[in-house]
């Protein structure tokens, strides 16, 4: 598949925002946290989600019709995501406001819990958009959803650690520890997905694609003098070395580099912010690779490009 940058930015930014929100709710549930930190945290989470949402609009040919996409929630995970996302953003805003106006802790915790449920639902919707397509075998695994959740939580915890180092230093250490643990978990599940996809055998072959039972079939013409949507949308068009380089880059940036910065003992906002920046860059590469790795069966009809 051709990596869609709008979707790459949306999933990584929204994932970090969701993880950050879960980190805030967890901190509040576990102990007393100054309202100012929670308000700025909620603002940052909302900002990440808003930028992600804006990026996702660039994916659409007709963004002015985006409201229509709430219609088919019974069958479409994309439609479900479109409903859950604004609901979750409203919950994040309500969470921030509840602390800004100093609601009772009980009430703000209720808002936070409702937000956490919506947050998990959003993760599942986003992951299932990819995992529900049966013939994109690289995506068709529970690990897709698990990775979206784990990386979102890990990057959110890293962001929370950086924010805490700046706004409320006592929380920086626990958040960094959580980011390390979640990052390690995400790294393991991602490695598991890579190992799984390496074992995959494509179910479709050129033989089943055109229904000719012969081992040797060569494509002579793909039916268009120049390119077409089919030759542009489903091929990343990069040499194998580039794809391999992106994989090694994300494997380094998504956990080892931020882990070194998080575990280094320095609790300055600059170091933890750098950890988040490195991890976020790694996540962009990870999502790019996620798309590039997926081989769409329609590519069988375009052997010259494949």
């Amino acid at each position: 598949m051709k990596p869609a940058w709008s979707v790459i930015f949306f999933t990584t930014l929204a994932g970090a925002g969701q993880g950050l929100f879960l980190a805030l709710v967890a901190a509040e549930a576990l102990g007393e946290v100054p309202a100012g930190f929670l308000v700025s945290g909620a603002l940052l989470a909302l900002g990440l989600l808003a930028v992600g949402l804006a990026a996702s609009f660039f994916h659409l040919g007709h963004p002015e019709r985006a409201w229509r996409s709430a219609a088919m929630w019974r069958t479409s995970w994309l439609s479900r995501e479109v409903i859950v996302l604004p609901a979750f953003m409203a919950a994040v805003a309500a969470f921030g406001l509840s602390h800004f106006f100093s609601f009772e802790r009980n009430h703000s915790l209720w808002i936070g819990s409702a937000g956490a449920v919506l947050c998990i639902a959003l993760f599942v919707c986003t992951g299932m958009i990819y995992a529900c397509l049966p013939f994109l075998q690289e995506w068709r695994t529970p690990l897709t959803v698990v990775n979206f959740i784990a990386f979102g939580c890990a990057s959110g915890a890293t962001a929370a650690a950086a924010l805490a180092a700046w706004q409320h230093p006592p929380l920086a250490r626990p958040y960094a520890a959580a980011a390390l643990a979640l990052g390690a978990l995400a790294y393991l599940t991602r490695l598991a997905a890579l190992a799984r996809n390496r074992q995959l055998r494509p179910k479709s072959t050129l033989s089943t694609a055109i229904g000719v039972k012969h081992p040797k079939i060569v494509q002579i013409a793909h039916g268009a003098a120049g390119g077409s949507f089919n030759t542009r949308e489903f091929f990343h068009g990069r040499p194998r070395e580039v794809v391999r380089a992106v994989r090694w880059t994300f494997l380094a940036l998504v956990f080892p580099v931020p882990a070194a910065l998080l575990g280094g003992g320095a609790d300055s906002a600059a170091v933890l912010g750098a950890a988040f920046a490195a991890q976020y860059a790694g996540l962009l590469a990870e999502r790019w690779y996620f798309f590039a790795e997926a081989k769409h069966p329609q590519n069988l009809y375009y052997q010259a490009i494949a």
């Binding site: 040919g61 019709r65 088919m72 069958t75 397509l133 050129l206 013409a221 793909h222 009809y301």
Partner: protein, 244 residues
Amino acid sequence: MTKQLALVIDLNVCVGCHACVTSCKQWNTSGEAGYLSDDNPYGADPTGTFFNRVQTFEVGEFPDTETVHFPKSCLHCEDPPCVPVCPTGASYKRAEDGIVLVDYDKCIGCKYCAWACPYGAREIDEHQKVMKKCTLCVDRIYDQNLPEAERKPACVMACPTSARLFGDVHDPESVVSRAIRESGGYALMPEWGTQPANHYLPRRKTTKRLHPDELERHDNPLKVDGRLPRPEPGEPALDDVTSW
């Protein structure tokens, strides 16, 4: 039983002339749903939106090769994976005749349906920014102003070798059902359970077995018709009795 309109394409007959491609483009770029975009149609790198394309494959190893021309369009699956993923309901399958259609006014151009189609049958219109695909010429096949014989998809009308059949695959006595049943019709990528309505008829070996009685008439054992009429010596020949 509900109707399921479909095409049956005979690969044994298709000569790869692209008449179906051009007639499809002509009909569907001229309809009330709007044009099908093209970019650089006469330039170095032409590209555009088509509902139908003909690909060519070479099967086998030289010298035992066969050229297979393979027309490819939306298969109007009985269980279309592109429909449930559509967030707006723009992509739908008609209950009355099983045609899978896109409502261009509802489509937001998210391309998710194209990702969900294993056959690559959908193409986005790069200018109108909506997803497009074969409609089985839905604006033609029910047109009461056309003579009944012309109420067929443009590609079927255009095919010079009649490689394209059109009809209801749920009606066991229709021309398409008969063709599928009697000529080994098959579906593409059956492994995904999409149950394509369109079927393809396989290549067939065309051989002619000559029996001896076809070379030599078995009802003429004396080879009477092989004997030349020959005048006896001295008998006048035709030249002697007539003047030309």
